[in-house]
Subunit: 469 residues, 2 copies
């Protein structure tokens, strides 16, 4: 007579209950190798359940290798199936997005999230997806959606002076992935030349990808191209249209010098053009890429012009790199998600993207002016602002202040999120760094917060400089 | 008197036309370094245009470094600004998705694209996105959407017996990215042990990431765990619930042996669980991960259960790897796109995902049976089918046939897309490979096409074996 505790009121099926019972008994050793199980007929009678229920359970146990049948003899427990399950309680971590209500943030590179055309976006996504062909739900080629690349090609030519075609564009998960993929072009004995300072995000990406880096100095006009080194770098990372973080525009003669250098050496220039659509005085500065599309890899992103959460960026590639980068992208993740690319193509096609850019440019100009006013009001002649002609950030240098770790953590403790200029230097570079400046991002900072934040900052900074006098 | 050809009817602004004229003249050398430009007053009079138009143009040229002003003296061309633009015509490549109307495809791992609930998907995306908080449009943490991880954690526990929490899940761009990220765990002197055969996608990923590989044999029960090597691998790649491509289920005693091996050595098991939701006889085989969540990295994807174009996959990670993999994902692309993750969370939450799986399981069962019928009709006793209990593919072995390159290309020329079993072996493995089998994927093959395809295949294969007799 067999007895197994079965709960007829449970939502778990009888067959599953039986299966769980046997599985546990086998794993914990209560049932031992080569022990014989009751016949299905016997068990169904003892437990007063349908024989099919027992059959289902036995079949599952056989499929998973817990039991086996010997024909004409019966069903037995397999060998080597006793095991103490590792029930180490897994730690729980709090990964939800941090609550940042209290913080006043001058983070750089964040667009004004209150002005994202999310209703239009959601509508266009739905409409576009309802109209796609089934082949669009399948795996796609590694370059990305042809529709998006067509639209983008037109846009980049029109607005950024980029010389391209849909076939030269590869869609990535944001510019961050573009940089990470490009790192794979650099062999162990090669190196990348990097503007110093540059965004610490790029420094982190190169470092994490084990790319050897050398810095090249940036002055008030951008990269000091007269200091381009004799030994050819594989890649040159530059931000010519809006140097990050200094905000300056690289003049045409230095651009030409860099291009000629790349032509002479086996070097590609990586032009990071992250936010130069937002230029306040005059038109946008044309890309460097148009001077020589075969020596420049142009990298752009929709994270600043539309929104970061989309993770859509792109590279415009020279012919010679098309195949290699396609393979690198394929290995990384086959291709980027397709549907939002299709929606974005539509968004550009019907003119919503251009309209959004124009609207945001006016908004950022207002915000920039307001933040400058706040700074001048609180700091007067002690503050000097540079690189404010474009984008969503500028540099503010403060007289007789050093933004060292102690001061920066004091600022952080007061719930002001801001980054010191010095953070964006390649750390092992021994030449002079600017240490009296902060980078003010204002894209997603509300005007009320600007006043409050700058006032608070003034009280911390001025108190600090009195302390040290 | 200055003369510049200006088209007053053009859509290009007068200022932009003037700017283009000067820019071209400077670059091509018609205007030389230190040549003096007319004053804005003079030029506006000569061309009969507003002085502001000239001012705008000069300002843009100054901003870009083409010209400079000497106060009290005038405006001059800068030095070093002559340059022959590289107008090498960039090649055009045809990257649009290939037209596959004529092909009969037995590709593996493609779900039935005609049955994707695309209308529901589009609706849920729109509804979800209209309701999100602005913080969801910002950069997110590298693990991915908390909503999706919560839903997924419940689903995996319920359906796959995975032992997890939202905090142990990291969202990737499909399983392909998961494998690529995991490669970075393997140092130069270490190696990965790989089931042989396994999907050639995994082989390609490991090879491209310079991971040293060693094969471990697969027999009719899956990995031959008694042959686990003395030298510890860093990772073991395995498909225990539905071995790819053989389709067999690894029995519990071998699972336990592999887990004990991993516990003894400094090894993690990568459990690739790509399609075992679709099991036709009995319930799905529970994951291996639940035996020891601290030694198994469980990898899954929505490419088979929902659709490939979404590029949503995931890893369930042991505590010890959380931080390292988070950093690797951050460097790769910061995080995966957020909105479709939010939509997918909703899709699971309201029960649509489970319903879809159940519907598709019934559909695939029908398709499988039909394809087996077709094969048996055409090949009779010459065909043996294995690994058909689950998923969207099975193995068909043919008596006295060798699927060598010549035969495979003959099949391809007849517009049949199918892959030989031998393709999925690690190539430098000298031990016996099965060379008389094809892998039939039937997920996205229409029933009419099956008949036609199998008949065509029979005519090629049978003619070929007669040739060689």
């Amino acid at each position: 007579m067999n007895f197994i505790n079965i709960d007829r009121k449970s939502r778990v099926s009888l067959s599953k209950q039986l299966y769980m019972y046997y599985k546990e008994s086998v794993l914990n050793g209560n049932l031992k190798s080569n022990d014989k199980l009751p016949s299905t007929r016997e068990l169904s009678k003892d437990l007063n359940i349908a024989r099919n229920v027992v059959l289902d359970c036995y079949e599952q146990l056989i499929a998973e290798g817990y039991i086996y049948t010997k024909s004409g003899s019966g069903t037995y427990i397999c060998e080597g199936v006793k095991f103490q399950q590792n029930k180490t309680k897994t730690e729980t971590h709090f990964n939800k997005n941090e609550c940042s209500i209290e913080k006043i943030s001058f983070r750089t590179g964040i667009p004004d999230l209150d002005h994202i055309p999310i209703i239009k976006w959601a509508k266009i996504y739905k409409e576009s997806i309802l109209n796609i062909d089934v082949t669009q739900m399948d795996y796609q080629n590694s370059f990305g959606s042809y529709e998006l690349r067509s639209q983008l090609s037109g846009y980049l030519e029109r607005v950024r002076g980029v010389c391209t075609s849909p076939d030269h564009i590869l869609i990535t998960n944001g510019a961050a992935q573009a940089f990470s993929l490009l790192c794979q072009l650099v062999e162990e004995h090669e190196y990348a030349l990097v503007e110093n300072p540059i965004s610490y995000g790029i420094i982190h990406t190169l470092k994490s990808n084990q790319v050897a880096m050398r810095p090249i100095r940036v002055d008030e006009y951008g990269m000091v191209t007269s200091e381009l080194p004799k030994q050819s770098p594989k890649l040159i990372f530059t931000t010519p249209s809006h140097q990050f973080p200094t905000g300056v525009v690289l003049p045409i003669n230095r651009r030409i010098e860099m291009i000629k250098y790349a032509q002479k050496h086996e070097t590609y220039i990586v032009e990071d053009d992250y936010d130069s659509e937002f230029r306040f005085d005059g038109g946008p500065i044309p890309s460097m890429q148009y001077l020589d599309p075969q020596k420049v890899i142009y990298v752009g992103t929709f994270s600043k012009t539309l929104m970061p959460a989309l993770r859509i960026g792109y590279m415009v590639l020279p012919d010679q790199l098309l195949h290699e980068i396609e393979n690198i992208k394929y290995v990384a993740d086959l291709h980027s998600p397709n549907f939002e690319q299709i929606a974005l193509a539509k968004f550009i096609e019907i003119g919503l993207f251009d309209r959004h850019i124009n609207k945001m440019r006016r908004l950022y100009l207002k915000k920039r002016n307001h933040l400058i006013q706040c700074l001048e009001k609180e700091f007067g002649e002690r503050v000097t602002i540079t690189g404010a002609q474009a984008g969503m950030h500028f540099v503010a240098a403060f007289k007789d202040v050093t933004f060292d770790e102690a001061l920066m953590s004091k600022i952080g403790e007061n719930n002001i999120e801001i980054i010191a200029m010095s953070k964006h230097y390649i750390s092992d570079h021994s030449t002079s760094q600017i240490d009296n400046a902060l980078i003010f991002g204002y894209g997603n900072t509300k005007t009320e917060q600007m006043e409050k934040g700058v006032r608070l900052l003034a009280s911390i900074v001025l108190a600090n400089s009195e302390d040290s006098e």
